[in-house]
C-alpha cells in the first residue's frame, strides 16, 4: 500500500472541509472494498478521510412513506433492523447476503453505492425501488446516480449521507452468487410500488446495474411469477467472463427474476 495521511473528522462539516482542501482525497466508510484495493496497490490516495467518528450517519428510520438509511449503516445493521424488515423485508434480505458476517459488520450502504461495483447487491435495489441518494450537496435519483462501472454522479468532495427508499407494496431479491467471490453473478431485484413494477439487475451488465426492459414489460401482466413465463432476456450488453457467458447470465436473469417475485413480500 502506498503511504497516505489519515484523517478522522468528527462531523460532516469537517469532512467536507477536508475533502475540499486535501489533494487526492478519498472517503473511507466500511473499507471492505477500498482497503483490499489499497493493499493490492490497485489504487492509491494521498489522503484518506475516515468517516467512522461521525455520529448519526448510521441511522435507520421510516419517515412518512420512505425508509431512510444512513450512509454508515452497516450491512449487518440493515439485515437485522426491525424497521427495515417491516418496511422493505427484501432489502434486509439483500443486506444479509452481502459478503460474509465479518464483512457485513464493517461494510456500509454508503460505501457500497459510492463504489458502484458492477457485482454489488445494493445498486440494483436502489434502481428497482426508485430510491433517492441524499448527499452532502443534493438529492440524486437512483436512475441518475449510477453511471457505469465504478462510476457515480458523485462530484469531488461530495459525500453520501443517506438513501431514501419509497416503501413499495411488495419487493423481492434473488441472487445467484459468483462461486468464488460470492458477489452477484446475477442478482435481480423486483419491486411493485403500486404504479407498476420495476426490475433491476446487478452482476450481469457490462455497465453495472441496470433496469431490465424485458422484465418490466413482462411484469405489466401482473406482479406474479407467471407473468415471466417465456420471457427472453437479451444477452447483448451482458458480461462474459470465466464464471459465466453472457447467454448464461441472460438465462439466469429470467430464473432469478421469477425467484425474486416468488420471494417478494
Amino acid at each position: 500500500m502506498h503511504s497516505f495521511t489519515y484523517h478522522r473528522p468528527a462531523n460532516i462539516k469537517a469532512a467536507q472541509a477536508l475533502l475540499a482542501k486535501a489533494k487526492d482525497a478519498k472517503v473511507l466508510a466500511g473499507g471492505q472494498t477500498l482497503i483490499p484495493s489499497l493493499k493490492l496497490r490497485l489504487t492509491s490516495y494521498d489522503n484518506i478521510v475516515d468517516l467512522k467518528a461521525i455520529k448519526g450517519l448510521d441511522k435507520i428510520e421510516v419517515k412518512g412513506k420512505n425508509l431512510l438509511i444512513g450512509a454508515l449503516a452497516t450491512h449487518s445493521a440493515v439485515a437485522t433492523s426491525a424497521t427495515v424488515k417491516k418496511a422493505i423485508p427484501a432489502l434486509a434480505n439483500l443486506a444479509s447476503m452481502i459478503g460474509d458476517p465479518a464483512v457485513r459488520n464493517l461494510g456500509t450502504i454508503g460505501g457500497s453505492i459510492a463504489n458502484n461495483d458492477p457485482a454489488a447487491d445494493y445498486p440494483g435495489a436502489l434502481l428497482a425501488l426508485d430510491a433517492t441518494v441524499i448527499t452532502s450537496k443534493r438529492k440524486i435519483p437512483a436512475d441518475k446516480f449510477f453511471k457505469g462501472l465504478f462510476e457515480t454522479a458523485l462530484g469531488k468532495g461530495e459525500i453520501v449521507l443517506q438513501v431514501s427508499f419509497p416503501i413499495p407494496r411488495k419487493a423481492g431479491y434473488a441472487k445467484f452468487p459468483n462461486p468464488a467471490s460470492r458477489f452477484a453473478l446475477v442478482g435481480v431485484f423486483v419491486a411493485d410500488n403500486g404504479k407498476g413494477a420495476r426490475a433491476a439487475v446487478t452482476g450481469a451488465g457490462e455497465q453495472g446495474a441496470f433496469r431490465s426492459k424485458e422484465l418490466e414489460a413482462a411484469l405489466k401482466k401482473g406482479f406474479k411469477p407467471e407473468s415471466l413465463a417465456g420471457v427472453k432476456v437479451s444477452a447483448s450488453g451482458l458480461n462474459s467472463d470465466i464464471h459465466a457467458a453472457a447467454d448464461y447470465r441472460a438465462h439466469l436473469i429470467g430464473v432469478m427474476a421469477k425467484r425474486a417475485i416468488e420471494a417478494a413480500a
Binding site: H2, F4, G31, I35, P36, L38, L40, P101
Partner: protein, 164 residues
C-alpha cells in the same frame, strides 16, 4: 506517526503507527499477538477474524487507526485464564482443527455466530454463517460439529473472555 489508543484483551495500549498499518499488523507486529493470522489479501479467508467492540471483523481489512478507542478481543484473550472458552474446548473435543492456521479465525467467528444466532445451531445455519472462513484441512465436517457443540456448551453458562 499518529497514535492509536485501544484496548486489546482487556489491556490498554497506545501505539505509534504508520497510517497504512492494518489492525492485524498492529496485533501481530506491534503487540506480538501472533494468534491472529493472515491467509489472503482479498478479505475472504477469515484467518484474521477478531472482535471489535463485540463484533467479528476481518482485522486485515481495517486500519489500526480506525480502531481508535475500540475494545478488541483476539484468540489470546478468549480463554478465562487457564480455563478454555467452551468454543475452544469444543474444537479440541470434536477434532475441529488440523494444521491450526485457520482455527483462531474460525473460533472467533463461531463465538460471534452464537451471539447472533443463538445456542441451537443447525448444520445449514452453521455452514452458511461460515461463508467468510476458509479451511483447507478439515473439509469443515468437524468444524461444523465443533461449533454446534460449542454453541450448546456456551449456553450452560461457561465464562467468556476478558472483553465483551
Amino acid at each position: 506517526m499518529p497514535t492509536v489508543t485501544l484496548k486489546v484483551n482487556g489491556k490498554k495500549h497506545s501505539v505509534d503507527v504508520d497510517p497504512r498499518t492494518l489492525l492485524v499488523q498492529l496485533l501481530r507486529e506491534h503487540l506480538r499477538l501472533t494468534g491472529t493470522h493472515v491467509g489472503c489479501d482479498t478479505s475472504q479467508c477469515g484467518a484474521c477474524v477478531v472482535h471489535v467492540n463485540g463484533r467479528a471483523v476481518k482485522s486485515c481489512t481495517m486500519f489500526a487507526l480506525s480502531a481508535e478507542g475500540a475494545d478488541v478481543l483476539t484468540i489470546e484473550g478468549l480463554a478465562n485464564g487457564s480455563a478454555l472458552h467452551p468454543m475452544q474446548e469444543a474444537f479440541r473435543e470434536n477434532h475441529g482443527l488440523q494444521c491450526g492456521f485457520c482455527t483462531p479465525g474460525m473460533i472467533m467467528s463461531a463465538v460471534d455466530m452464537v451471539k447472533r444466532k443463538g445456542n441451537d445451531l443447525d448444520e445449514e445455519t452453521i455452514r452458511h454463517e461460515l461463508e467468510g472462513n476458509l479451511c483447507r484441512c478439515t473439509g469443515y465436517h468437524n468444524i461444523v460439529k465443533s461449533i454446534a457443540a460449542g454453541a450448546k456448551a456456551m449456553k450452560s453458562g461457561a465464562k467468556t473472555g476478558k472483553a465483551a
